[in-house]
């Protein structure tokens, strides 16, 4: 309860901070929205030119991609600043200002650095998902329940990724390109899993379960989910737990900078 209240206050502070520069806020939100909304246009172009993702029609693929946008939008809003803020603190030697707060450093950074502009990405994803679902149809109320469960699992994967990236920076200061690798890996979640070779499928389901970010929740909505996909929730939860454990462990390595 205390953490919820604290999160609400910190979030309000983060909003005030983001709104301090109005033009930057508006432009940033628009650019985030446009750059991510343009991506599905590639899918539209592929289908308009007669090519397909075998076994999937255009609106089904767009649904996968819009769920992916929703997941990454929510994760960006809540979590992505953990990576950059942690990196900045370590490089600048100011992480002690975080450690001076009588709460979890992870929670403090997460609550005080909400990326408000990513709301546009999440909202854009929701709009696209609704439009796509209107064309494909939804396989009943149960499907929506499954979608929500798997959506949360997908969020856990993104959470794990961000925490691992942030944790690495305690040892490997200045690893600013690492997020690009993780972005590339998470991109596998944007497409129907069936188009990938077997090895990639195993990786995307069991090792770093990126299929959970977009593909599995969208499949649940479409009623096309293989029940075995629920097993992937376990690696998703483990992945997030590993991220939290690693981050907290790596804090012990913090050495500050010369004073």
């Amino acid at each position: 309860m205390k953490h919820l209240k604290l999160y609400r206050i910190c979030l309000r502070t983060a909003f005030s901070q983001a709104l301090a520069y109005r033009a930057d806020f508006v432009m940033g939100s628009l650019i985030t929205l446009l750059s991510n909304i343009l991506f599905p246009l590639v899918t539209v172009l592929i289908y308009a030119n007669g090519a397909t993702f075998p076994g999937w029609n255009m609106w089904e693929v767009l649904l996968v991609q819009s769920v992916y946008s929703m997941s990454t939008g929510l994760a960006s809003m809540v979590l992505s600043s953990i990576v950059w803020v942690t990196m900045d603190h370590i490089r600048g030697g100011s992480f002690e200002t975080v450690l001076l707060k009588p709460i979890s450093p992870l929670f403090f950074i997460m609550a005080t650095n909400c990326d408000v502009q990513s709301i546009s990405l999440f909202a854009g994803g929701v709009v696209m998902a609704v439009i796509s679902a209107c064309h494909t149809g939804v396989a009943g109320i149960g499907a929506i329940g499954s979608f929500l469960l798997l959506f949360v699992a997908g969020f856990m994967v993104l959470c794990g990724m961000d925490l691992i990236m942030a944790a690495i920076s305690f040892k490997w200061v200045g690893n600013s390109r690492i997020p690009e690798i993780f972005d590339s890996i998470s991109n596998f979640g944007k497409y129907p899993l069936s188009i990938f070779p077997q090895a990639v499928r195993v990786f995307a389901v069991m090792v770093i379960p990126v299929a959970m970010i977009g593909f599995f929740p969208a499949s649940a909505l479409l009623g096309r989910l293989d029940p075995k996909a629920y097993l992937s929730i376990i690696p998703c939860a483990l992945f997030m737990c590993f991220g939290i454990w690693l981050y907290n462990k790596m804090i012990l390595l913090y050495e500050g900078v010369g004073g």
Binding site: L6, T13, G256
Partner: protein
């Protein structure tokens, strides 16, 4: 009663030597030379409740590392720290609730919003009841005279205004111990005075302060106790009075001579500094020669127009201790 006990504290870490220039950069890209840094070497001390303790030392001496370990922000490599019964790094969450810290070079305020919003966030973090928060905030804002300042965005504040807000931020939850790492760095005389008055007032109300600084006036005006660290080792630990007398019973005499100074010994004492041909400074050891005896000798050897007799300046004492260590 000791509120802080430090035993055989050690902090070492490994870094890499990277040389300078393009050649060295390329070389170090393929092979880096490991360097073991021993920032703090076997330091022990105790600090009494209600004390203001100044930790002095040249740059890189290990002061900030010691303070950060005392705050729970850094893990010691070896040794034991006990503050109010807590091991700072191990019991961090419980422990930091009872301490405050101001780092002169690192802000805890949020840059783009007014300090009052940062204070409100701290109220939530430290779970301070509304009535206590309001009372405490009012008290400190009045003490610093910053009623208007706290409503402006932090980024538009002057350094002095920002530092005052940093103090408010660090002390809203009424910490029992406050760690200050160079709190007056870069401030003008008025801001320094205000901050020193604030520290004295809070100390009168019972707060213990541990202070690192390069400004010896901070120490002279505030500290009851001084610890000097050099090359990671403790080289002095006693009262301010003891520090002043550590080089013996000495005075600095400054003379304005009637004739230009020609390099002679004046009153049996060597000249330590000549500001110009007519103005010179001497250091006299009163344990070897009384002031009357010196003045008698002086008036026999030289004629002077003006004389001033002062205590040995703190910077001179500290410099000698640094050099001797």
């Amino acid at each position: 009663m000791s509120i802080i006990q430090v035993e055989n504290l050690v902090k070492s870490y490994t870094t890499y030597k990277r040389g300078s220039g393009f050649g060295d950069s390329v070389k170090s890209f393929f092979k880096r030379e490991k360097v073991d840094v021993h920032a703090v070497k076997d330091i022990s001390f105790e600090i009494e409740e209600g004390c203001i303790c100044g930790i002095l030392g040249p740059n890189g001496a290990g002061k900030s590392t010691t303070i950060k370990m005392l705050c729970g922000a850094l893990y010691p490599t070896a040794g034991k720290i006990d503050v109010m019964g807590y091991s700072p790094a191990k019991d961090r969450v419980k422990y930091v609730k009872r301490i405050g810290a101001v780092f002169g070079q690192k802000s805890q305020l949020i840059w783009d919003i007014p300090p009052i919003d940062s204070f409100a966030m701290n109220q939530a973090i430290y779970d301070i009841p509304d009535d206590i928060y309001e009372k405490r905030l009012k008290e400190m804002v009045e003490l610093f005279d910053i009623e208007e300042v706290i409503h402006k965005p932090t980024r538009v504040l002057s350094l002095g205004e920002r530092m005052k807000c940093e103090f408010v931020m660090a002390m809203l939850h009424k910490p029992e111990i406050v760690f200050l790492d160079e709190p007056t760095i870069g401030l003008d005389v008025i801001a320094k005075t205000k901050i020193r008055e604030f520290i004295s007032e809070m100390n009168r109300q019972g707060t213990t302060f541990i202070l690192t600084t390069h400004d010896l006036e901070d120490v002279e005006q505030l500290a009851h106790r001084v610890i000097i660290i050099n090359h990671g080792e403790k080289v002095f630990d006693n009262t301010l009075e003891s520090l002043k007398s550590t080089l013996g019973n000495k005075k600095i005499i400054t003379l304005t001579l009637a004739e230009p100074y020609k390099g002679e010994t004046l009153g049996g004492v060597e000249v330590i500094r000549g500001d110009n041909a007519h103005k010179v400074s001497l250091e006299i050891d009163l344990d070897k020669q009384g002031i009357k005896e010196f003045l008698d000798n002086l008036s026999e050897t030289v004629s002077f127009l003006d004389i001033s007799i002062k205590e040995l300046p703190m910077d001179m004492i500290i410099t000698r201790i640094y050099n001797e260590a």
